[in-house]
Symmetry: C2
Subunit: 106 residues, 2 copies
């Protein structure tokens, strides 16, 4: 299911990553972070897929909402564990969505 | 491999999609579009993964570079065939990358 977002402008966080081979705890924590994000102020939606590279794009109403989510205590612990165990490398890109359009097959 | 992009600001196109079950021609065209994008003016990189949802993020030096790529003749034909055969739905989001940071395990 594609994320249903409002009219731009809004914000996107593009999180791309390469995993290590450590699987312990990863799936549960990833699921929990998605669940937790849904309850954050200003959360608009999320899309995620992983093959050689993992890509998670989350959508937010404001930069303040993104800052608030980054500083969430449980999220910070997950970020730290991610650097220690689960990720070989990652990149976070904070973006302003200026325009969007779509297609739906009838 | 994560895309190696310059210091912000630069631009990102987030293309998210749900596929139909039509596979004919899809893989070859997808590969060709990535190849073709690499030769476009202002192209900076691309990351892609597909599970339930497909996510392709391409990075560009300017909005003009994005417009130019959207209008490429071979790309336009692929877009049209995509709507007719390969995609149930898709969304394109044009974004300005304002900030980025990363992590690399040593």
């Amino acid at each position: 299911m594609l994320a249903q977002t409002p009219e731009p402008p809004y914000y996107a966080v593009i999180f791309t990553s390469i995993r290590t081979d450590v699987t312990e705890g990863y799936g549960d924590t990833a699921d929990r972070m998605v669940e937790l994000a849904h309850g954050q102020p200003g959360f608009l939606g999320v899309e995620s897929a992983r093959q050689a590279v993992g890509i998670t794009v989350s959508y937010w109403a404001s930069l303040e909402a993104i800052r608030h989510w980054k500083q969430d205590a449980e999220h910070r612990l997950a970020q730290q564990t991610g650097r220690e165990k689960w990720y070989e490398s990652y990149k976070v890109r904070i973006c302003k969505v200026e325009r969007d359009y779509g297609f739906n097959h009838l």
